[in-house]
Subunit: 218 residues, 2 copies
DNA sequence: ACTTATTTTTAGGCAAAACTAAATATTTTT
DNA sequence: AAAAATATTTAGTTTTGCCTAAAAATAAGT
């Protein structure tokens, strides 16, 4: 058995492990809005349980079992978000908090049935890939940030880096939603803001926004 | 704010308050599978929060706010059970435990949208009435236990008293499901078991089973 | 009415998961 | 390479929600 709290830590380590190394104590503390000392405590416990590789002063990384758990939580989170948006008509900026609770509901049968009920979706409402029953993520699309796209190259919006309600609401208002085709018309030297073409019109967006929009480049 | 544990206690007090009085410490301990001393602790806290009327040695009853919370949990529990059975094709004996978890998810918006999504059902898969958005329960059907029905009176199965998986599976096997019309053919003096007519056939059931089946008598 | 049985409360303890403050490691800067 | 800054751990505390064991109150039996 495991607690919701343990699941939160495993998910955080997964989120902060960018291919390369694991996650540092401070990064985890920041991500989870907790104090570093609390992180140290829990990392010891997770290490004892065999879910995490932890060495003093060297951060933590998931081992096989821990990664499976983390992926199962991510899978649940994204399936529930999809349910909330596709079936209950929530908007994409309203579902994160609720899914944070729903992701801890324990029942494999429930998750798999929900998956089928939703038609085995590959992506959630923010464009993030949903791990399948075997916790595999298959996403062959080449992705980059809008801030890195070359001028006049047509790309498709496929996700957001940070799915905070503020960003999502902004994008919604500008109709920069998933699936839209866009291209960068001009990059302003002064502040690196972009002029983009979308929906047959042109509009300006800040570098900050562009750094948080994921686009497909193939 | 309130914890899942507090919600469990309020729900238990609600369940054990049969119109008349409130619930005793021991009854709550038994219902919640906890020790009496734990109950006393929590009753003090719930009383401080203004949700429960508690007097030493005299048990506990819900006040206005506590009853509203209890009903909101009951509403969520029954709506989620309905979702699991009607949308995810769970069987009626498989949903209780999952709904025990789901009932603690916090979001009024979620509950109300779920209610609409399900078509504002009046009863859950076990025949229990679902409180509406204002926590009102409207159920004008006259109900009694099958064990108390007079011979040859036709009645309709509308619920179960105890919704344990064992009972539900038994009823399912005998096709004694909600909505079925039945009548008592004979009552055996020896053990008070019943011979009932259902689905054009006759079958025997124990007194124990009959005491747990609710039927509509009007 | 008084003794026994049952119920309930009190008192003290424990584990989980967070915290603060202080101590120790590591990293960065000069 | 030493000093300063930053990161991490240790040690001790708090709160929540449960527990056991013992004490006290209430209810039941003769």
């Amino acid at each position: 058995m495991r607690t919701s709290s343990e699941e939160d830590y495993l998910k955080a380590i997964y989120a902060l492990s960018n291919n390369n190394e694991g996650a540092s104590t401070n990064a985890l503390a920041n991500h989870l809005s907790m104090k570093a000392s609390s992180i140290t405590d829990m990392l010891k416990k997770l290490s004892d349980k065999g879910w995490v590789h932890y060495e003093k002063y060297k951060g933590a990384s998931l081992n096989i079992d821990g990664k499976a758990i983390a992926l199962s939580i991510v899978r649940k989170h994204r399936l529930w978000e999809t349910f909330l948006v596709n079936k209950l008509n929530f908007k994409w900026d309203e579902v994160h908090e609720i899914a944070e609770q729903l992701e801890h509901i324990k029942s494999n049968e429930l998750v798999d049935r929900l998956d089928d009920f939703l038609g085995n979706p590959k992506f959630d409402p923010h464009g993030d890939p949903i791990p399948n029953k075997d916790y595999e993520i298959t996403d062959s699309r080449k992705r980059s940030y809008l801030s890195e796209v070359k001028i006049n190259r047509e790309v498709i919006i496929i996700g957001v880096k940070d799915s905070s309600a503020q960003l999502l609401q902004y994008l919604e208002k500008e109709n920069m939603i998933l699936g839209k085709h866009i291209s960068v018309v001009e990059i302003h030297d002064f502040d690196k803001s972009l002029r983009i073409a979308i929906n047959g019109k042109e509009l300006n967006i800040s570098e900050r926004v562009a750094q948080n929009v994921l686009v497909q480049t193939n």
